[in-house]
Symmetry: C2
Subunit: 151 residues, 2 copies
């Protein structure tokens, strides 16, 4: 006779994961219609309206390894959305910046993000959304979460 255990659904971590996965997958489907993944979107958004950044900084900010950024950048370059240039100051370093077409594209993708957000949280009142935001942001601060951590 096994001892009874708390249900999975008793844990906030489980509930958060359910919602997070659903919201992310819904967004991923919208992005996929434009031929973009969530990680690609995150990188593009990070560089939008910014001066080019070295891959290592992007790795830190996105919570990914440098190796993953190398390959992610390769894909975006292949799609004509990213430019890789050698750093002037450091012979080892590079900079990654958006192409013109990427700069034109990102606002369209941002619209998808807004739409996804609206669809997923339409049932919450503005006050409830602010409460949720506050609880989450305090958790982010308390746990010392920094990057995006795409996956």
């Amino acid at each position: 006779m096994p001892q009874p255990l708390p249900e999975l659904t008793d844990h906030l971590g489980y509930r958060i994961r359910q919602v997070s996965n659903h919201v992310s997958h819904a967004f991923a489907r919208k992005l996929a219609a434009r031929g973009v993944t969530v990680a690609e979107w995150a990188l593009l958004r990070m560089l939008y309206g910014q001066p080019p950044l070295p891959p290592s900084q992007l790795a830190t900010r996105m919570g990914m390894t440098r190796g993953a950024i190398t390959r992610l950048a390769d894909r975006l370059i292949g799609k004509g959305l990213l430019l890789r240039a050698p750093s002037a100051a450091d012979g080892r370093a590079q900079t990654l910046g958006l192409t013109e077409s990427a700069t034109a594209f990102v606002p369209e993708l941002a619209g998808l993000a807004d739409r996804n957000e609206a669809e997923c949280f339409a049932h919450l009142s503005p006050a409830e959304r602010e409460t949720l935001r506050d609880l989450l942001e305090r958790t982010v601060a308390r746990l010392g979460i920094t990057g995006v951590a795409v996956e």
Copy 2:
């Protein structure tokens, strides 16, 4: 001059993903010390104290494909935690059930889940945790989220 866009952090979906990833990775590290992944834990927990289930049902409940369940089950069988048996009623079907050692093991893993939960949300008062739970569960219900969706 690119047009300004809403910040990533303005989206609840982004904040939820940050917290979810952090909580899941913290849990994954605890489980890894016992040689178990999050997906393996979810499957083990689902079968704990239950009669054996066919892979197809586990796939539905966990939000994974049947192919993924096949491989997940293979790994757990390799670890001596799962038993695969042919279904008596249906020559195509199988049933997956926990071994004795798995039944003894799951409560220990459940303790890790409890500890992770406590660590990640210690800064919220009981009332705040209930508020968060309520907002999340209403979202789960509204979006029609059913499975675990491990990843």
